[in-house]
């Protein structure tokens, strides 16, 4: 089987997952009631999510 090309549909599918992770991490921060072990680790997830947005979601906007 050959390699897959990058197309808008693929980026859209990835962006959907990225936004789901972001939503879940933000909800976790809301839910955690200030528990640092949850809040700070969710914060790290959000920093990684930002990198995913830079690499995928932001590009989707110009395709």
């Amino acid at each position: 089987m050959g390699d897959r090309d990058i197309d808008k549909r693929l980026l859209q599918e990835m962006d959907d997952r990225i936004q789901s992770i972001k939503k879940a991490a933000l909800e976790l921060q809301e839910l955690c009631g200030g528990i640092q072990a949850v809040y700070r680790n969710a914060d790290r997830i959000l920093a990684s999510v930002k990198m995913l947005e830079i690499n995928v979601s932001d590009v989707l906007d110009v395709l």
Binding site: D5, I6, M51, I54, N55, D58, V59, D61, V62, L63
Partner: protein, 447 residues
Amino acid sequence: MTKVRGADVYWNPITETLPRDKLMELQLRKFQKIVGWAYEHSKFHRQLYQDAGLEPGDIKTWDDIRRVPKVEKSMMRQIQRKEPFPYGDMLCVPLERVTEFHQTSGTTGQPVYQADTWQDWEWWSEAWSYIMYAQGFRDTDRVFLPFGYNIFVAYWAGHYAGEKMGCEVVPGGVLDTEARILKMQELRTTALMATPTYVLGMADTARSMGIDPAKDLQVSKILCAGEPGASIPATKQRMEEAWGAKVHDHVGATEIGAWAYECTAQPGGLHVNEALFLIELEDIGTGEPITEPGRRGKLIITALDRMGQPCIRFDSKDVTAWAEEPCPCGRTFRLIKGGVVGRADDITKVKGVLLAPSAIEEVVRTFPELGDEFEVEVTKKGDIDAIALKVELRPEAEGQRESVEARLVEQLRLKTNLRYNLEFHDYGTLPRYVLKSKRFKDLRPQH
């Protein structure tokens, strides 16, 4: 899993092969966002833009980018040590969001402090991941970092990027050079990151220990930074021969980030990471934009996603030129020819001739009879400038001094249009450096 085309070659084939019109559209959108963010969150930027009669909404086209005032390092020095301490009001986030402190080396004056949030620090390692992947680093590499892990940003992000990429990172922090070499041998490290000066110095030390880096160590790739050496063909060749490894360059700065990198195609230039940075080249004298290849100018750089202490239209003073050809590696990111050839404030007039210190290195390093170290001193005697070039003759070339001297003077004259007073020093007596070298000394009275 079906692989995406290019996933083995590029850290991110989505951005690195994006058609140029799309890339420019992406950059414009990101530029609008970061200017808006800085205007909203930093007093410094808001005042700067208001004084220029500019609001973020005024930036609608690429031409509008040039309406945004540039930021110079001296402006950063003025606001620092004030509130919010110690960064001043360039900061766009509350202090409690800052997780990383670094500062510039102070080579050109008082050091500048740089704040980063954890997200910005992720962004630093992201930029380095683009670099390292393009240079062949993979999760099978055991990477040795022989640097001091301190307040200077240096290879910190290389360490974090190595971890992100799945490499095994060996921190060679407080060890001395001999201990570092022994550790590399003991662990069979496959990759190394250091300044060109230190790469050559380590090879020299290894040989004095009876270890030939090309044969007795297993380093196959070296990532250089901090000095232009890895983009100077003769210096690159010296390093590659000494280590039996591929040597690649990259450029970055504390206030900017790691913004350009050489790929394994070694095209004689560096790719600007246009997914993360917007790079403008402008005429050093007139400030007019340069878009055509081959004409040297200085770089104005914007980090498009650095949020804590943004870098927007920063006057880097780095001098380079666009390259002509697209790179055979397939990246659509533009290339700068021969890397950064110097800094606008390093390029100085000597005897009425413009001299870039890298041009001297380019000549000296083509002489195998000479050691790796050299020093240049410019002085003034009466009204006349004089340049002394201090070099070391290798012990095995001791009988060739006259021949070397004649050829060196001639090559320097051809390359730089200047005459030099050559001083031959005993091998091993000129200063050795671990990070950035200070080989060029302008000792003329400054007016």
